[in-house]
């Protein structure tokens, strides 16, 4: 970490590749890709999963029965170790950034962040102290933006971003208290949407200063975050924070909004969030762009969401394929949106990924084919 920061770095190339993906749809990127193409959802109803024994739909990884957080993290190492060399993982030029909201919340009131860090050091062999970003539902996008900052400042050659969160009573009971959980699988942007479906997973992307030997390359352009400055738990009625974040990201990326081919939105499935997003995209005249939410496949995985969805963006770019917005049939927002109702081939060269969350946070990033 001793190297000095160069100030004019916004044009320096940052390459982004995927390392691993473990979700209810599969424990590798390829398995998730197959399931997405088939339009499979990882959401199922779970008996007595609610605070007063409701049967909430959840996107849970059924193979994990106990010690969910640690087991999930370890599972992701299998694919990561196949894709990334031990030399890179254990290099002092490699940094790990973890994106999580509640980490190993099942051990609360004990330290919920400790076990993950120990596992990363002892079992993955990383040498630098990992950095933990905990910024609610925008954590994943914020963590990827930060990873690029470290690369552009020449502080590290590779930054591994790990987004992870598990389904827990703590979180289910909390969202239930807000009347925010949907009785059926979440239907982002749909007229019939009634709330979110909680999910779990781990996703790993790697940002690098050089093209590694990955067959396909995507460059990270830039990103930003912006608060709504409006309310801590309710989305802004004007979409102000999201509008500002996207504007900043476009400016910092030195590209025009017309160049965006596809938007991977946040789309939780709550009435207010999805409405807010539609207003923001409409204000920016981005509402005719091809567009989806992936919460109908993975549920809302909180700190993992931004990273999982960025991996799916990479798949969309690699295969020129926009995945349908699962759960959506009829427009349910006041402003029109061009939601993908079928999974179809289309040129995907430039992608805008957005996220919004509790605390009024909004974040975005732009990826472009190399």
């Amino acid at each position: 970490m001793g190297k000095s920061t160069s100030m004019d770095t916004s044009l320096k190339n940052v390459y982004i590749t995927y390392g691993a993906l473990v979700t209810p749809l599969g424990n590798t990127v390829d398995k998730n890709f197959s399931a997405l193409k088939e339009g499979k959802s990882g959401i199922k109803k779970y008996t007595n999963s609610g605070f007063t024994n409701e049967n909430w739909p959840l996107a849970k990884i059924e193979q994990i029965s106990e010690n969910r957080f640690d087991t999930l993290l370890r599972t992701s190492f299998i694919e990561l170790n196949q894709k990334v060399s031990i030399a890179t993982l254990t290099s002092s030029d490699t940094l790990v950034i973890v994106s999580t909201t509640k980490a190993n919340i099942d051990v609360f009131p004990n330290d919920t962040f400790e076990s993950g860090v120990t596992i990363l050091k002892n079992e993955l062999g990383i040498v630098n102290e990992p950095i933990i970003v905990s910024n609610a539902c925008i954590s994943g996008v914020v963590a990827i933006n930060l990873a690029a900052d470290y690369i552009r400042a020449d502080k590290f050659k590779d930054v591994i971003v790990i987004g992870i969160d598990v389904v827990s009573d703590f979180v289910i009971h909390g969202f239930q208290s807000l009347y925010a959980i949907s009785e059926e699988a979440a239907k982002p942007f749909d007229k019939e949407r009634t709330g979110i479906t909680l999910g779990e997973g781990v996703a790993i992307v790697i940002l690098s200063s050089e093209k590694r030997n990955s067959a396909f390359h995507v460059k990270y352009l830039n990103g930003s975050s912006s608060n709504d400055a409006n309310h801590i738990s309710g989305p802004s009625r004007t979409g102000e924070g999201l509008v500002r974040s996207i504007q900043k990201t476009l400016e910092r990326s030195h590209i025009n909004k017309d160049q965006i081919d596809f938007i991977s939105a946040h789309g939780t499935g709550t009435i207010y969030n999805d409405e807010m997003e539609s207003i923001a995209f409409d204000r920016l005249e981005l509402n005719t762009k091809s567009f989806n939410s992936l919460k109908g496949y993975f549920g809302h995985t909180l700190g993992a969401a931004g990273v999982i969805e960025t991996i799916v963006c990479l798949l969309s770019m690699e295969h020129n394929l926009v995945f349908k917005s699962l759960g959506y049939t009829t427009l349910g927002t006041s402003k029109s949106l061009n939601l993908a109702t079928d999974t179809s081939q289309t040129q995907v060269n430039t992608v805008l990924k957005t996220a919004s969350g509790f605390g009024g946070g909004n974040a975005s990033l732009i990826l472009i084919k190399d």
Binding site: M7, P109, I132, F170, S226, N227, D228
Partner: protein, 200 residues
């Protein structure tokens, strides 16, 4: 890069730029409320906040004695906050609610994320700048400076940095403002001003 002001808040005292500006009466039941009253500000939302957000709000209000934030545009101030125990105080409240009291409370749950405090600051100041919350093993001045450098390489002109902790054992807030101006960051001086050895 230049640190323009620092402040520390403990249940015993408030320190601004290394000088004690208030001693908090030791018999005070709610020391944060006492500080709020001593600042002569009217912000009813304060009373609804959890302790982490209250500490952040008080910290920025103390800094305002030295800093005129109106000189910055609404997207020019970045927020860099961190602590070790995340939202422990509110996590524990929510945890006790559903494990012992057989109830759940939306007003307790919404504070079970540490970045809510940056949201409260943004609402209070109407700020739209970049913001981030980290969980770190310990306070690290180098880390905050590194994050400020990243923000200054974009469109941010000043970074409000803060280490704020609220758990069973301690309540404390350390805030400082770094500006992207000619100057040298005197790390030891800052650590001394913040009385950093009190951090646990």
């Amino acid at each position: 890069m230049k640190v323009v002001a620092t402040c520390s808040l403990f249940p015993e005292e408030i320190v601004l730029n290394g000088k004690k500006i208030e001693s908090i009466p030791s018999n005070e039941v709610d020391w944060k409320k006492w500080v709020y009253s001593s600042l002569n500000i009217e912000y009813p939302k304060f009373h609804k906040m959890d302790s982490l957000a209250k500490l952040a709000f008080l910290g920025i209000s103390v800094l305002e004695k030295e800093i005129d934030f109106s000189t910055y545009k609404d997207e020019e101030v970045g927020l860099i906050f961190a602590n070790k125990y995340s939202s422990y105080y509110s996590d524990n409240k929510h945890f006790i609610n559903y494990t012992q009291k057989n109830m759940v409370s939306p007003s307790d749950f919404v504070y079970t994320l540490p970045n809510i405090l940056t949201g409260e600051i943004a609402i209070f100041k109407k700020w739209y700048g970049d913001n981030v919350f980290f969980i770190l093993k310990k306070f690290d001045i180098e880390f905050f400076i590194e994050q400020a450098e990243f923000m200054f390489s974009k469109s941010i002109k000043a970074c409000l940095c803060g280490w704020i902790e609220s758990n069973e054992n301690s309540e404390q807030a350390y805030l400082f403002l770094i500006e992207n101006k000619e100057g040298i960051v005197l790390k030891d001086e800052i650590l001394e001003e913040l009385i950093i050895d009190k951090i646990n």
